[in-house]
Point group: C2
Chain length 121, copies 2
């Protein structure tokens, strides 16, 4: 039996900032719920686009030569290999869509880096 | 320069029922905005999952041995090869996520079938 997921309910499972949880999958892409506050780390995902959809709040994404401000209901695909730094002044809920193999801090390893196993738990 | 897409605004482009418009892409998956009313046709997508996210209204998806009712804010991935028939009693706005190669009526050809070129226009 197939059962739908309520997007808002899926965020209930997310208790820590910058610790995405896998909430769905379509083909080889995972859907992840993340709560963000503050800033993460400059990073890029080689060979992998990453889509941000703002479920609640707002998010600034800094690029090397640009800044994009995303509001609730906006989405943006950060293309493969483009260095970026997400910054949330206030708590922001984000739906991420990215390949199962994407590391959420790219090749950067930080205390905030979470393995896929942690994102599935 | 990257610019965000407002999901609600993207639906403004959609003027016909059952005629999805491509509004974004992440890796090999397309995001499509569709307005549905009535029912489409029983079909399946071999080798391709299809995700339905309900932006406005509600949608019933009939399966051969099941019925799933989706409300605003719900999402469901219809797995590859599973025959289904979407039915919208009232107008429903759906965000679809599926591979670029997915035909929205599967292998069924109906007067409502739209080519990818039509979905990009």
């Amino acid at each position: 039996m197939l059962s739908p997921t309520k997007l808002a309910d899926a965020f209930e499972r997310v208790t820590d900032y910058w610790s995405p949880k896998v909430i769905g999958q379509v083909n080889d892409q995972l859907l992840k719920a993340a709560k963000l506050k503050g800033e993460l780390v400059w990073h890029a995902h080689e060979g992998q686009d990453e889509l941000f959809y703002i479920v609640k709040g707002s998010l600034r994404i800094e690029f090397e030569n640009d800044i994009v401000d995303l509001q609730q209901g906006d989405f943006l695909t950060v293309p493969s290999g483009v260095r970026h730094n997400p910054v949330a002044q206030e708590e922001c809920w984000v739906l991420l869509i990215e390949p199962a193999s994407t590391k959420h801090t790219g090749e950067e390893s930080t205390p905030r880096t979470r393995s896929l196993e942690e994102q599935l738990s």
